[in-house]
Subunit: 400 residues, 2 copies
């Protein structure tokens, strides 16, 4: 029935088994006996269904996929065995009956609200617990062939949408008008509708268009170019600012296909690019060419950041690199998958070695106070020898 | 500068002071000495700015609005005094210096992740703490004149979008196509871009279009009509299902103006409404007329639910009322404001008396297994004597 409405491919069983096995290895290394997963994305990742419930992954028994609501649908979505339950007390009884709560229980403490955690402690009555979110995030950081295929499909959607931008960016058009037209095109193609970002207060627009000084105003969001939005209640994203001749328009868009996010940015300009933006644009372009030339599996992400920062410094653009003033961010890229802030984070702050199968967005950007922003962002897969682009085609400034 | 881009009105200072005073009263009643607010919506509600930081509301001193990022912008957005800080340790030092951490500290434990809570305990070193989220939600449940004005503006946006639907719903058109066109129109007018729903795993689409059996498949979301979506990774919302003659198309849309959400549903049909949907539609309509005729300040929400349920029973439609099977929900309405799941909840499960200034969506809907869904949803303000509609104009089935 779901096939009739163009529902996308389910996650293959081998993938799910591989994911669960990798989680168990990391759980064993960290002394966890059971992982209890509640977050929707984590549950989907390990089971292929997001229907309401709890996923229990014991170290040495089959996982238990408890479903409280959407049971029929869960059965269509996952090849794993389901355990339908009425409520969480029933889940507790089953887990206790199998003596699964005696050891150390791993929970997603980075996203689990305190009130939910307190209820779990009461109902499940486990003895010891700890944060298993790092292990979950590590497993999720390396993508399978199936996942890479979904990411490539997501990238195709993104490319189609960007190909329409040439007709939408016009002098006098508002940021909102451009966004509305382009995201509508993506949604009609089957864009999943929104992008997920892990953690409290993390909200991510599907697209954000900046057409000048709006790209240079910092806000709470941890991104180099955030936009002003139209209200202090949603202080990010596109606004009624209009496109001006010579001032770059940055369009940051996230594809969303079967859960998988791509995230790229292009810069557009009506007429000739105004002088102050030229060197930053050329430098951003060179930084992308540079990373493609040297990075691959085994590269330390700190080196990627430092090389890019060095190129910005050599161009005399340190102050503008990855934001200005308090808007400056401490990364030049971030992992992609079911969430837009997966591992790896490309930051100088801690070690992180690229591994084959990782996927990340790489976004050298420059912010010119009061004037605007320019730069680009492309998505990269860590291949067996080098980085491979998710999308094809040019990422240069588009002159209109 | 923000005015130039059409930025909406800031929250008036009197409003903020009134909100803080009401929170203090409820804090005093529950023995809290300090509220420490971290969630973006709660911080916005009490300060008018959502920029990065922490809001501390002591029982008998002025609130402290700590800002870590977006300081200039926060200064434009809030009339309250700001305390710029580098990090949370600095916040801890200031609070300790003022001896504000000695008593009982209230935190938003319904949304605060355990890891964030543990860090706060380490950095702030408070002695006793508890959940202040119920107090915050109670204050937020009753809207001021300014808030009602924003809600009315949000409703106007919603009405404009629905007025375009007549041209978009056509036989053979996909749910996604209709949604894409209509949400684009709303966004171009200045829709804030997304809707917020409080709590873990709560994700709300701006619009969802159901054109038949897709409206009858339950999913994790706690709503009567949820849709299938296009992927198990986002198992809700519009799909590639096409509009068929005689089968109702439900469009559930959330306006979003200056943070404030409206949430209404209309049913459309190409040709004559198929027979099985007629009685459910007429009953839903009668339920709305009934609530408008009797409810007002002082009404117990349980009575509203029971009367509606009684009308469904009398029509022989109990099985289909507010969902079918495990898709049945236990409410017929929900509070609206900055989040789509505010108080009051119109459920038979617990007492809740309507008060002047509350705003809620009222949504009698019927779900016919394998066939589809029909119904409507309108937003209501609890006035001084009776309920008042947020929007104007008809909410009847639109025949095309």
């Amino acid at each position: 029935m779901l096939k009739q409405v163009g529902y996308f491919d389910p996650v293959p069983k081998e993938d799910l088994i591989g994911r669960i096995d990798r989680l168990r290895q990391l759980m064993a290394d960290s002394g966890f006996d059971l992982a209890l997963l509640l977050q929707n994305v984590d549950r989907f990742y390990f089971t292929g269904t997001m229907q309401k419930g709890v996923v229990a992954v014991p170290l040495d028994q089959d996982p238990l996929v408890f479903v409280e609501k959407g049971t029929d649908r869960a059965a269509m979505e996952t090849p794993l065995n389901l355990t339908p339950v009425k409520n969480d007390r029933e889940i507790g009884d089953i887990l206790r009956g199998r003596r699964l709560l005696a050891g150390k229980v791993g929970l997603e403490l980075d996203v689990l609200p305190v009130a939910v955690f307190e209820r779990m402690k009461r109902v499940f009555d486990f003895e010891r617990c700890g944060d298993v979110s790092e292990q979950v995030r590590e497993v999720r950081a390396v993508k399978s062939r199936f996942e890479l295929d979904q990411i490539v499909m997501s990238g195709r959607m993104l490319t189609s949408v960007f190909s329409l931008a040439r007709d939408e960016v016009r002098e006098g058009r508002t940021e909102l008008g451009i966004e509305a037209a382009l995201t509508a095109a993506g949604r009609e193609m089957g864009h999943q509708g929104f992008l997920r970002m892990r953690g409290m207060n993390q909200e991510m627009m599907t697209m954000t268009v900046q057409a000048g000084f709006t790209g240079a105003i910092p806000t709470l969001l941890d991104a180099p170019i955030t936009g002003t939005g139209v209200t202090p209640a949603v202080p990010q994203g596109s606004s009624f600012k209009k496109v001006e001749r010579g001032v770059p328009v940055t369009i940051d868009y996230g594809g969303g296909y079967n859960g998988y996010i791509t995230d790229e940015t292009r810069s557009f300009v009506v007429g000739d690019l105004a002088e102050p933006f030229r060197k930053p644009y050329e430098t951003a372009r060179s930084i992308i060419e540079d990373v493609l030339s040297f990075a691959g599996p085994g590269t330390d992400c700190r080196d990627i950041f430092h090389r890019a920062e060095g190129m910005a410094r050599k161009a005399g653009l340190s102050d503008l690199f990855m934001g200005h003033g308090e808007g400056k961010v401490a990364f030049i890229g971030h992992g992609l998958g079911l969430e837009i802030n997966e591992l790896p984070v490309l930051t100088p702050r801690h070690e992180r070695i690229l591994k084959e199968g990782m996927v990340f967005a790489f976004e050298p950007k420059f912010v010119l106070p009061d004037l605007g922003a320019v730069g680009m962002e492309i998505d990269l897969i860590v291949g067996s020898e080098r980085l491979e682009r998710v999308t094809t085609g040019p990422f240069d400034l588009v002159c209109l």
